[in-house]
Point group: C2
Chain length 409, copies 2
């Protein structure tokens, strides 16, 4: 997902024009078969972190002898570390992924009013993190400068060198067109339109930057740090300043033809309702985002911010509860439509309102049940994320290792 702008055209090369991943170069040979098995081991290590050889055999379906051969060779090549451990009381070897050019990845999540930076080791333990509150409608370029400051501070605190940083993943609150890696107008706040995030950040940080949408990254984070990581089909529904969903389908992030998927925020829920930044009217995002709730409350109550809203709901404020319930009803309806299309195992509610738990999940679930086939209703769990608002930064860091796993083989 990285690539410099072509000065002649002002566009980055499309994925087609970029070199194919190494893994596709010499297929069919003995070497490529070994590489493919090695890739399966790396994928397992990326998805579950450090594992014993027996665990790797179970997860990949490869024999223990094959696993042993592969990890020995990988250790020789500096791709994994091997550490003695015990498993069920027996001696075992713990295999941990090292990346080719570093031992830590950073994730940066840009929100409407905050910025979070995390440092993550290849086994997905978190080395450090910091959250910074920002002024609403901050200039993204100021955000990039600040992100560099925070990242520098975290590296210093943890004693990790810039050289040990294998890459930086970034999430922004809007869709990314996978074909040119630019934010999609109408899905991002105006100040993010036309901002070439990858180039801006690679210039400042000097390391490879990978970019994705906040909800997509949230879904990746849920598969690693969430309570439903085993789900084959998972929807991460982010309700924040905007509304969007990240999709894990058949065990993998789903990007469709353009990368612009899970755009439930732009499903119309009120005919000729509130104007939406996408140009349409009455979109879910225009009617039921946190911003829409605040717009509705702030003129008649002292509730001005997301934090105010959460506190008011927790204190039982009637107006706040009603606004949450009205929004939840609309959200439940659209999520019902989405479940009628995808039949996921689990829908994880993320964003700042997830802390409200059943107060928001109950009306969502009631509306969901009213709009979806009973069989799908019974087969779908709706839960709150346990990652607070850390999902996108964590997912962004995980994305670096996913990309690295493709590069190293």
């Amino acid at each position: 997902m990285t690539g410099r702008t072509d000065p002649a055209t002002g566009r980055r090369p499309t994925p087609e024009a970029r070199p194919a991943p190494l893994m596709n170069n010499s297929p069919g040979s003995q070497t490529s078969l070994r590489k493919r098995n090695q890739q399966r081991v790396i994928e397992a290590l990326v998805s579950v972190g450090a594992s014993t050889q027996a665990e790797l055999a179970r997860r990949t379906g490869l024999s223990t002898a094959t696993i042993s051969n592969i990890v020995t060779l990988m250790a020789k090549n500096g791709l994994v570390s091997l550490t003695p451990t015990t498993s069920s009381g027996r001696r075992a070897v713990s295999v941990k992924l090292l990346t080719s050019n570093g031992t830590v990845a950073a994730g940066i999540g840009f929100g409407r009013r905050h910025l979070r930076v995390v440092l993550v080791y290849p086994d997905f333990t978190i080395a450090a993190e910091e959250n910074v509150i920002l002024e609403q409608k901050y200039d993204p370029r100021d955000g990039f400068d600040l992100a560099k400051e925070v990242l520098t501070r975290l590296l210093e605190q943890t004693g990790i060198s810039w050289e040990a940083l294998s890459g930086v993943g970034v999430g922004i609150p809007g869709s990314i067109d996978r074909r040119d890696l630019m934010p999609v107008i109408g899905t991002v706040w105006a100040e993010w339109a036309f901002v070439d995030v990858v180039v801006e950040l690679e210039d400042r940080l000097g390391v490879p930057v990978v970019l994705d949408n906040d909800a997509n990254l949230g879904s990746v984070a849920e598969t690693i740090w969430g309570l439903h990581g085993g789900a084959t089909n998972l929807v991460y529904l982010k309700v924040g300043s905007g509304v969007g969903a990240g999709l894990i389908l058949n065990g993998k992030p789903f990007n469709g033809a353009t990368g612009v998927t899970g755009e439930v925020g732009h499903v119309q829920v009120v005919p000729d309702g509130q104007a939406c930044r996408c140009g349409n009217r009455g979109c879910l995002e225009a009617e039921a985002s946190v911003q829409a709730m605040l717009d509705r409350l702030s003129s008649v109550t002292p509730i001005q911010s997301t934090e105010d809203l959460v506190r008011a709901v927790q204190a039982g404020d009637v107006a706040a509860l009603r606004v949450i319930e009205d929004a939840a009803r609309l959200i439940g309806r659209v999520v019902g439509d989405l479940a009628s299309i995808l039949s996921p195992e689990v829908i994880v509610l993320g964003g700042p309102l997830a802390v409200l738990g059943d107060t928001i999940l109950d009306p969502i679930s009631r509306s969901f049940a009213r709009h979806v086939l009973p069989l799908v209703r019974d087969a779908t769990d709706i839960v709150a994320s346990t990652l607070d608002d850390r999902g996108e930064a964590l997912g962004a860091a995980a994305l670096v290792f996913h990309q690295a796993a493709v590069r190293v083989i």
Copy 2:
């Protein structure tokens, strides 16, 4: 997808309880690597039909030497036939898939008022087909008896023996719960509820039966016989007595957690609208299926059947055109929501109204454009199927070869 009912529980074994496909039995070994390469060759042959070795090398990424070794071994084992041919003026070998226990597959598509049987060779050429008009609300068991009659007749006509029949694929107009292979109540017409299609047909035909939903099978047929087979993400939208979608995502049929996916017919489009058989009100299916259009017209016009409706529209009947346009507007809106979630390359309209071409596609596209992000709108083609109402029977036959490909390796 086959499996007998357990007499003790009255249920068929769940997929988890069934024996794993052979391909997963001895992974990691040299043999399993060869098997995995062989599977890639079979998948290529299943998806494009007879191919030269050079074409197979291009499609699988395997070397020509590897392909040559694999197809030689497969020919020796009776899995493929090798026939001399020419390609770009050069001598080549055409590789054609034979199945392990037969050389032809049958597909049966049950509609609301018709039944179609096709016989298909492993290279996806069609040996024979027959369409039979049925009385509305026919007893499915009568349909099964009739399907056996038609299939017997087609086999006789083509001189193909029952022994040469590797299996029968079946499509019914309703969702299938993948966990027990039963029709889902609320998505099928009442007479199909609680009908164990697999057992009923296996008893009558004495060959393995595989079962899927009509729209899912239509999407499979489009990838083989349609004009957009190369699409990685394809939606087949069937508008008939009901409304449903089959999804090809990342190049494969998508079944979600339950098999009940693409249920756009049960997205609510009119609050408190017409009652739907699913129990909800104002579902797309209740408002915009062919049945809904006929219900609206038949009391005030002589239009009584789907054929009447198509003829009236083609003759420029104002009432019929208006009903089509009203339905198309609702369909376009729901398909827009679906595209906001999945961003497919192409949406193929199937079912009896596809013959109307732009008369129905134009109002669908206008409504679609009004409800979807401009970027997704521009990246999504909306076209009419060229398979008439043959999609489900053809897809059902293709499904037999897909299943066979899994069995033979």
